[in-house]
């Protein structure tokens, strides 16, 4: 794989065309992805999209029906989990109820037959890292949810894992604790120089934590990229609608336009919109396609009637949400949503102009 620097390292973890079905349900379909050394990698998607199954296959808890998994260039597809050396943090923490905090964290070290002094040292430092020093003699039942979660993390990092796997580890915490733990987690992984794969259905969480994210929908991997890339240039409707709010505009490319600048007619409202089309194959003539624009990119004005892609619209509803307000608009039957910082001057039923700037409009793969 060549890059600008002339050469790029092999990825640490590689999934190649991995599929897994449960009975007639195809949980994971032909997923390929690469995770690089030191990367915090996210698997994001709605529940039931196959992200947890993918993670479990990486961990070795599930075997792929087809496809292979490589780690440091070695095929680990059928390696049992205990021989992979990956730490995993479970959604319900999976702390051993019959063992105290120390023994929970020491579990993996004992499985590796380390000597007593080493075990004690490494348990102590793992507990220190998750800010639970001195909790070693506690029973796991005595701990709060947040503390149990930290013990689960300490247990996973104590084995100095080659890869750290997280299965929605924050979903059992309450909101304020979740954000706090989130930043601590990211900091900890970076400090230890670990590579992590993180499964979540929470877009905000994935964006805050991950260097790169794969979005999965219906068992398929739809798009992989940096958070900003995914947000600003979703390639598919499913990705666009899963990541944040979006205006979906059904439109048809006009046969009259022969230039690179595409000209589209919206099916609702019959407006003419212009935008740059880089890939001709994405927008065949006379076939309905989806255009999309984020609400925060929809501009409202009272005098911009001449700007490109300016439509006349009527304000239907204004929803106040603190720092921002959402304005619902009706442009001759085309329903749009705009996010504005100040809605003071706006009123319901007011007539105004909506500007869908051509460089903010995107064309989606169907």
């Amino acid at each position: 794989m060549k890059s600008v620097d002339g050469f790029k390292e092999m990825p640490l973890l590689s999934l190649k065309n991995v599929s897994r079905s449960f009975g007639s349900t195809r949980a994971v379909v032909d997923v390929s992805l690469d995770v690089n050394q030191g990367e915090f990698f996210g698997l994001l998607g709605p529940s039931g999209c196959g992200k947890t199954t993918t993670l479990r296959m990486i961990a070795g808890l599930e075997n792929p029906d087809t496809g292979s998994i490589f780690f440091e260039d070695a095929d680990i597809t059928h390696l049992p989990p205990e021989r992979r050396g990956f730490g995993m943090v479970f959604q319900n923490y999976a702390l051993f109820p019959h063992l105290n905090v120390f023994e929970n964290v020491a579990f993996g070290l004992r499985a590796r037959h380390q000597n007593k002094a080493d075990v004690a040292d490494r348990v102590a430092s793992a507990l220190e890292l998750v800010q639970l020093p001195g909790y070693d003699k506690r029973d796991v039942h005595e701990l709060s949810g947040g503390q149990q979660q930290r013990v689960a993390i300490a247990r996973a990092i104590a084995i100095e894992p080659a890869l750290l796997l997280f299965d929605e580890p924050l979903s059992n915490l309450d909101v304020s604790l979740r954000e706090e733990t989130r930043s601590e987690l990211r900091e900890l992984v970076t400090r230890l120089g670990l590579t992590a794969v993180y499964v979540t259905h929470d877009q905000e969480e994935a964006f805050a934590l991950c260097d790169r994210i794969s979005v999965m929908v219906g068992g398929r991997l739809m798009q992989t990229g940096r958070p900003r890339e995914l947000y600003e240039h979703p390639s598919e409707i499913s990705v666009a609608s899963f990541l944040g709010r979006n205006n979906l505009i059904r439109a048809m490319r006009l046969s009259s336009s022969k230039t690179t600048a595409g000209e589209f007619k919206t099916l609702d409202g019959g407006h003419t919109l212009r935008m740059n089309v880089n890939h001709d194959e994405l927008a065949p003539l006379n076939k309905p396609v989806f255009l999309t624009i984020r609400p925060e990119h929809v501009r409202l004005s009272t005098n911009d009637g001449d700007a490109e892609n300016s439509l006349r619209a009527q304000i239907r509803e204004i929803v106040f949400a603190g720092a921002t307000s959402t304005v619902r608009l009706d442009a001759n039957g085309l329903m749009l949503e705009a996010l504005v910082l100040r809605a003071n001057e706006l009123e319901v039923n007011q007539e105004c102009h909506v500007v869908l700037s051509p460089d903010r409009l995107m064309l989606l793969k169907n």
Binding site: P80, R83, G87, M88, F90, N92, A94, F96, R112, R155
Partner: protein, 571 residues
């Protein structure tokens, strides 16, 4: 006027828990505390003086020591064998899925619902020296004598394993289901091999379940009476020794041995309760446990597992099938043949035509119904007191509630022999708590004993139902203006009745086949089914004995099916 009503309300409010407490206390004092105290006192007295002479005398006799050692040895052996059979079966059927699995799983608990006497009789017909198995081997190989005699230790251990292995099977299975599957996965991801997961994660968490099963098996085996009586041979066990001592009129010996048996059983109960507690605790600490997917074994293992399931299912069904077969056998048609040579409905015709048989059924039905309904009504009192919110008004605190639930459990933990002997001792002569009324020798002794023996089942069933009712529902009803009785009738009762009735049915059918206590205190006026079976057996009316057993099993099956439906209704 308004003031009056308010005052009355307050008085009613205080009156209710006091009444509940009074009813509960009277039953426990008359039924549990006093009879048990009475046997202890009798065992410690001689001619009105306090002395240990009875114990010295009993313990100096070889037979008593032998009985204690035999009972303990038999129970220890039973626990070991039941564990060896029940635990692997539970692992096999809980962890894996294969053809035939459901067949066995559906039948696994069958021996538990078989009345002990009926089970014993069925066993004699199947594996006894003149039973089907022995005859078929004898005829197959042309042997002169039966290949074995169903007597003594091996016979008892075999029968106990057959009837009590379900404790281990059921408890281990439930324990395995409770273990969070992600724990094993976490252990694997931390580097533990499959065998090390079993050793370090699964077994430690299973220990409380295994101990509970062991204690339950131990207690049941200590109380076993029918099998030692019918094919124990020379094996002297405590229950049997107590029965024989009473038969020959040696009441002091009977009472003293009863106390010894009671102490052993209660010790087991106390340990059992502790482990049951920790089991619940561990389960409560779990959150969000995903279900374990059952692994489908393949190839040879699959065939082997299927064969195993079918064989075990057959083993479970065979004694009952034998009982059915023998119930249709013509009297005298089954001597040396493998199977009875002539079949008839005569046994059943006799059962339904004979006024004596009708009376026996009538007695058992009436007495069991009285006991079960009384247990249901009384358990509402107990469970109300045991509930945290209600109980808080009457009791000082947790320790009182624990005492109450312990007292309720005592008759359940005590062997039927002990319950019968202690009631007989307490109410066998005038001047007891009942004044000049002597309970022993009347019709009422058996309903009373049945009530005591099986009310813990009803209390537990009702308690389990009540625990599922959110206490805020009653509070909500209260806030809407419902009085205490309205809250009970309109909110609590509709939610708990299926569970309560299911528990009552269970108590009813178990009482229907009760033998151990009945044989000690029955009188001609209340001769129950089990006594009739035993006497038919003694007269070698095998077909008639079997027919009684079959009718009992049919009644039990119908009731259990009905109870199962009710349980589902609740869930």
């Amino acid at each position: 006027m308004k003031m009056d009503r308010a005052k009355r309300k307050i008085r009613l409010h205080q009156w209710r828990p006091v009444a509940l407490l009074a009813v509960t206390a009277v039953v426990l004092i008359y039924g549990v505390v006093y009879p048990n105290l009475a046997v202890v006192i009798t065992s410690l007295q001689r001619a009105g003086n306090w002395t240990l002479a009875n114990y010295r005398e009993v313990l100096s006799q070889g037979s008593a020591i032998e009985a204690i050692v035999s009972s303990l040895g038999l129970s220890a052996g039973t626990v070991l064998l039941c564990a060896l059979v029940g635990v692997p079966l539970a692992f096999l059927f809980e962890r894996f899925t294969f053809p035939g699995r459901r067949l066995f799983a559906a039948l696994a608990a069958l021996p538990l619902v078989l009345p002990p006497l009926v089970g014993t009789v069925a066993f004699i017909f199947l594996v006894g020296e003149s039973g089907i198995l022995a005859h078929s081997i004898q005829n197959l190989f042309g042997l002169e004598n039966p290949p074995w005699r169903l007597r003594g230790w091996p016979a008892l251990l075999l029968f106990h394993t057959y009837t009590m292995y379900p404790f281990f099977y059921v408890f281990t299975g439930a324990g395995l289901r409770r273990i969070d599957a992600s724990l094993a996965e976490a252990a694997r991801s931390l580097g533990a091999s499959k065998s090390s997961v079993l050793r370090r994660v699964v077994l430690p968490q299973l220990t409380p379940s295994l101990l509970a099963a062991a204690l339950l098996t131990f207690m049941t085996s200590m109380a076993s009476f029918s099998a030692p009586l019918l094919f124990g041979g020379d094996v002297r066990v405590l229950t049997l020794e107590i029965f024989r001592a009473r038969q020959r009129g040696d009441f002091v010996m009977a009472v003293t041995e009863t106390v010894i048996l009671a102490i052993i059983s209660l010790a087991a109960l106390i340990v059992f309760q502790r482990y049951e507690g920790t089991r619940r605790f561990a389960a409560a600490a779990m959150k969000g446990a995903p279900r374990r997917r059952e692994i489908i074994a393949s190839g040879g293992a699959r065939v082997l597992a299927t064969i195993l399931a079918v064989v075990f299912a057959l083993v479970l069904v065979l004694p009952v099938a034998t009982l059915f077969l023998v119930s249709f056998a013509q009297e005298g048609s089954w001597t040396t043949q493998t199977l009875p040579s002539a079949y008839t409905l005569a046994n059943y015709r006799r059962l339904f035509g004979d006024p004596l048989a009708a009376e026996v059924f009538f007695n058992s039905f009436t007495m069991s119904a009285i006991a079960a309904v009384a247990a249901l009504l009384w358990s509402f009192c107990v469970v109300t007191l045991l509930r945290r919110r209600e109980g808080a008004r009457t009791f000082a605190g947790e320790s009182w509630r624990r005492l109450l639930s312990l007292l309720v459990l005592v008759p359940w933990a005590l062997p039927g022999t002990v319950v019968a002997v202690s009631v007989a001792e307490a109410y066998g002569r005038p001047g007891s708590l009942l004044g000049s009324f002597v309970l022993v020798g009347t019709f009422w002794i058996l309903p009373a004993v049945y009530f005591l023996r099986f009310m813990p089942l009803v209390v537990r069933a009702l308690q389990a139902s009540m625990e599922q009712v959110d206490p805020t529902l009653e509070e909500a009803a209260g806030s809407l203006g419902a009085r205490a009785w309205q809250r009970f009738v309109r909110v609590t009762l509709p939610l708990v009745w299926p569970g309560a009735v299911a528990g009552t049915l269970l108590a009813f059918v178990i009482a229907l086949g009760e033998y151990v206590a009945s044989v000690l205190v029955f009188v001609p006026a209340n001769r129950p089914i089990s006594i009739a079976i035993a006497s038919e057996l003694r007269d070698f009316n095998l077909g008639a004995a079997a027919a009684y057993g079959v009718v009992l099993i049919i009644i039990i099956s119908i009731s259990m099916a009905f109870a199962g439906r009710l349980e589902r209704l609740r869930g």
